[in-house]
């Protein structure tokens, strides 16, 4: 999810025709599912929340499909292949983060809200300003995440289909965007959920087969697999097996690593597209089962990537990975080719595409729900609008977001994707999570606290990233090449030393929420607070599943 997908040259392995055929089969199958799912899309609860009728296990699989993006499959496997243990650290942060969602957020959120994160945040505070702030932060997180995925699609296509022209890649980005709009328009949340379920199952099975294959080559002895990886990586050697290869260089990089670890572990429970998935189940018990299923699937998948990463180092070797188009991201596809030839490569490539499609569809429905329900329905129309009217706006919004994502993705093609995804996680952890926790657990929390925390977290994260080495002034000491978003090394306006701002912005947002609250004279709305607390824990008055 955070490792960069570099813009590669055309691939020199595999057979693009096989890849395209397998991918086309996936698209046809998912479109058929989406059209089937669309027959019951009648009300707002159908469109936004899939009728709240998914079971916990189904939703848990869909959450995994939403969460495990292409970059987490290709990126983490590649990071482990090249940087060894430091790549593994990402997956641990991404997994442990789910305990925050399980213990503190998922069930209470399901019981209190209807469709969006803003429903919960504005429950007992002043409706309009808090809802607006929550909706803006939702849109910002979705936008950066979406841009990262779309830009990633360009790089992935080049790698897997042999499309090396920028124009060809732009066409593929547009196709991804159009497919995503179709999924969301036709299928709503129900269709999107099924696409995510299909994709998650394919991804886990694909990665699982490769994992068993790799382990079988080393007689299921992890130690000899690690030994082979070390032997094949003379430059890194034994360092491949312990932390520090990527982040251990200086005191600053160590601090950067801690900052990243903080943003990862606190970001997940603030990601709006993850939170929205909790509304697709009938009650809080199913929300709990969803997270439990998601934790098992995501955890097992990350264990697979550990084997795949070291397997790629041992079987393909770091030199060939670095020389391949797409560099680190080609580790898993190269490994697939070594193991199962062009058919397995085709399957793995198609799964990587499916991954992008499913993730962008989930982001699009979250962003359009937030705009239609929060900004249009509740703020502009003051709640005086029918569900049908809102859903119509949500559909228009999905088209607009799709077009913006296509254009943004074409421009961002080749940009550093780690930057965009880290920004999304840092914003989610800084702007969303403090307010979610305060409004669920702190009686005195009030409107000013929420606004200071959301806007303060949002602004500080964006400002610190703009003036960080990720945007300008980061130079590779050996080659002199720029590692920043602005590749012109003469432009350097960075003054914040860290790549990830979480270590500053997350505590800041918590402090701002506290400070805003205690300096405001707004009295606690005791009745609304009582309603929120009782509903959150008992499920009384919670939105029910739609009966068809």
């Amino acid at each position: 999810m955070t490792a960069p997908l570099m813009l590669p040259l055309a691939t020199d392995i595999g057979n693009p025709t096989v890849n395209i055929i397998i991918f086309a089969l996936f698209v046809a199958a998912t479109l058929a599912i989406v059209f089937r799912a669309s027959r019951n899309n009648k009300t707002a609860a159908d469109f936004y929340a899939g009728g709240r009728s998914f079971t916990g296990p189904q939703n848990g699989i869909a959450i995994s499909g939403d969460y495990l993006s292409a970059a987490s499959f290709l990126g983490i496997a590649g990071a482990i292949a090249l940087n060894g243990y430091d790549g593994f650290l990402y997956s641990i942060g991404f997994l442990v983060a789910w305990l925050v969602a399980l213990l503190l957020v998922a069930e209470l959120l399901r019981n209190t809200g209807r469709f969006t994160m803003a429903d919960v945040l504005s429950f007992r505070l002043k409706q309009r300003p808090v809802r607006m702030a929550a909706a803006i932060s939702t849109l910002v997180v979705c936008f950066f995440y979406l841009l990262a995925q779309m830009a990633g699609a360009g790089g992935l296509v080049a790698l897997l289909l042999g499309v090396s022209h920028r124009a060809g890649q732009s066409i593929v980005i547009a196709v991804v965007g159009i497919l995503m709009i179709t999924y969301v328009l036709v299928g709503g949340m129900k269709g999107t959920t099924w696409v995510q379920i299909v994709k998650a199952v394919l991804l886990v099975i694909g990665a699982g087969i490769m994992t068993l294959w790799v382990l079988a080559k080393y007689s299921f002895n992890l130690s000899s697999l690690l030994g082979a990886a070390v032997d094949k990586s003379p430059a890194a050697g034994e360092k491949l097996l312990s932390p520090g290869l990527q982040y251990g260089a200086t005191g600053l990089t160590k601090l950067d690593f801690i900052s990243l670890a903080l943003a990862l572990v606190l970001g997940t429970a603030g990601l709006p597209h993850v939170l929205m998935r909790f509304y697709t189940v009938p009650d809080s018990k199913e929300a709990r089962r969803s997270v439990s299923w998601a934790i098992w699937i995501i955890g097992i998948f990350y264990l697979f990537t550990l084997v795949l990463g070291y397997g790629a180092a041992a079987i393909v070797g770091p030199d060939r990975i670095k020389a391949a188009p797409g560099k680190a991201n080609s580790a898993a596809p190269l490994l697939a080719f070594e193991l199962g030839g062009e058919v397995l490569l085709g399957v793995i490539s198609a799964i990587a595409f499916a991954t992008i499609l499913a993730v962008v569809a989930g982001l699009t429905i979250t962003a359009s729900t937030s705009f239609a329900h929060d900004i249009y329905g509740q703020i502009i129309k003051n709640g005086q609008i029918s569900g049908d009217g809102e859903v119509r706006v949500a559909r228009y919004t999905a088209v607009v977001i799709g077009i913006v994502a296509i254009i943004g993705g074409i421009f961002a093609n080749g940009q550093n994707i780690a930057f965009l995804v880290a920004l999304a996680f840092a914003v989610a952890a800084s702007a969303n999570l403090p307010t979610i926790l305060y409004s669920l657990f702190w009686r005195r929390f009030n409107t000013r606290g929420a606004l200071w925390s959301i806007y303060g977290g949002l602004a500080s994260t964006i400002i610190l990233i703009v003036f960080s080495p990720v945007v300008s002034g980061k130079v590779d000491k050996k080659t002199g090449a720029s590692l920043s978003m602005i590749t012109d090394t003469s432009i350097d306006f960075h003054w914040f030393p860290l790549d990830n701002p979480g270590i500053v912005t997350i505590p800041l947002a918590f402090v701002l929420g506290w400070l805003g609250t205690i300096t405001s004279k707004e009295p606690v709305d005791v009745d609304r607070f009582a309603e929120m607390e009782v509903r959150s824990l008992t499920g009384a008055g919670a939105e029910k599943a739609v009966q068809h």
């Binding site: 942060g93 442990v96 213990l103 360092k239 520090g244 670890a261 572990v265």
Partner: protein, 110 residues
């Protein structure tokens, strides 16, 4: 249809102040807050060791298995374990009482 709505619990305030609800909230918080503290502390101990204790983490315990690898896999084990424990605990100790209160609030005439 019989209405089991409790006549004393007419508003959410009444429920919030009732002993049954206080007990439910206390039980929930006494489980999730310490558990959250526990896994966050364990996670950051691990992160700090990974960042600052390279010698300790690169120590080999057998074959090519390092301490770091065991600690990393330990994070997976603890995450899975906490998930199992919490789900079982909540199913048994949270849901029955929460459901009873919900019925009292909503009545059975739903």
């Amino acid at each position: 249809m019989s209405d089991t709505r409790d006549p004393d619990l007419t508003t959410y305030r009444d429920v919030q102040l009732s002993p049954d609800f206080s007990e439910l909230r206390r039980r929930f918080r006494r489980f999730v807050f310490p558990m959250t503290a526990l896994f966050l502390v364990w996670y950051f101990v691990y992160v700090l060791l990974a960042a600052y204790a390279h010698d300790f983490m690169s120590h080999k315990v057998g074959g090519n298995i390092t301490v770091a690898l065991l600690f990393g896999l330990g994070q997976f084990v603890s995450t899975f374990a906490i998930t199992l424990i919490y789900v079982r605990w909540a199913d048994r100790r949270l849901d029955p009482d929460a459901e009873k209160l919900r019925h009292q609030i909503e009545g059975e005439a739903q």
